[in-house]
């Protein structure tokens, strides 16, 4: 059962653990909106240490407003950035 559905507002965990992390640093702690659920995938943080990536994690496409990421963003307000984020990095707002 997926924790999030398209349209849900979420915040990216603001956390800086060591290891192979696919959540880019520049979106940690930022707010976005879930656009799609891509299904579940082996967890790359576990794969990276030579294990099987289990349990798998749901992967979401999350959309951010550029203005929310970069306060001095020079483009229009409507510009966005989509990042694929695993479920354990997201919290509902």
């Amino acid at each position: 059962m997926a924790a999030f559905a398209p349209g849900d507002r979420v915040r990216v965990r603001e956390d800086y653990p060591p290891g192979h992390i696919r959540t880019p640093v520049y979106i940690r702690g930022k707010e976005g909106v879930v656009k799609r659920n891509f299904g579940t995938f082996p967890n790359p943080e576990i794969l990276a240490i030579g294990r099987d990536g289990m349990p798998p994690k749901a992967l979401y496409e999350v959309r951010f407003r550029q203005k929310d990421l970069w306060p001095d963003y020079s483009g229009p307000d409507a510009d966005t950035l989509d990042v694929d984020i695993y479920e354990h990095w997201l919290a509902r707002i």
Binding site: F38, P44, L69, P76, T80, V83
Partner: protein
């Protein structure tokens, strides 16, 4: 087989730079730690009988056989066949199988440019790229500069590629951080109604499918 994880680390192995001016007869110098590491692993895999040199050569040959012309064919099919376009946008990996292409361990997501949205692809973590449809990425795609600036000031980067997107159009950057690989489906330019598939494919450059350019009718 190259797994998503390998793809996510292989930029570290990027080996120096080409020397087009160097005399061809001399052996190339090995520059970097990672290049040496790569060679050592290759030799070990061969010594242990896990792969053969012929298999490695064939794998490289296969990689090199995929060029952006393949992506262009897919784009043209989508431009000229609405049902195919729907399949491509719904399930990119499935739709490219109709061209005999296989995404391997990753999935293809095709994002469509429209009069209101312009898409652009980057991988800030390394150099994830839809290799199954475009072949190997250009060196600038893997550069730290492109990767860091595209998520921060995409319109400035676009301008440096000679691409001006009107302020009324949303620029949507896709940072491929996980198991998805992205391909931009550009808009078919006006005035191309009479062109055949081959002529149309000539308009669809690699850069158009990364989203740093848009097709121009000539």
């Amino acid at each position: 087989m190259v797994s998503a994880m390998q793809e996510h680390t292989d930029h570290h192995g990027e080996a120096g730079h080409a020397h087009p001016h160097a005399p061809p007869a001399k052996d190339e110098k090995i520059h970097s730690y990672y290049q040496v590491l790569g060679l050592a692993i290759k030799e070990l895999l061969i010594d242990k009988g896990i792969v053969t040199p012929a298999e490695i050569r064939k794998a490289i040959e296969f990689r090199d056989s995929i060029t952006p012309a393949m992506g262009a064919q897919i784009v043209v099919r989508a431009w000229t066949d609405p049902d195919y376009k729907r399949r491509l946008l719904d399930n990119g990996s499935g739709a490219i199988r109709e061209f005999g292409l296989d995404m391997g361990g990753t999935q293809l997501v095709v994002v469509e440019n429209t009069p209101t949205v312009h898409n652009m692809i980057v991988c800030t973590l390394c150099s994830c790229y839809p290799r199954a449809v475009l072949g190997l990425p250009p060196s600038w795609y893997k550069s730290r500069e492109y990767r860091s600036r595209t998520v921060r000031e995409p319109r400035v980067v676009l301008r440096e590629f000679g691409t001006e997107i009107p302020a009324s159009v949303e620029v949507r950057v896709h940072d491929s951080t996980a198991d998805m690989r992205y391909l931009v489906l550009p808009m078919r330019p006006g005035g191309t109604e009479k062109l055949d598939a081959e002529q149309l494919a000539g308009l669809v450059t690699r850069d158009c499918m990364i989203g740093v350019a848009v097709p121009q009718s000539r």
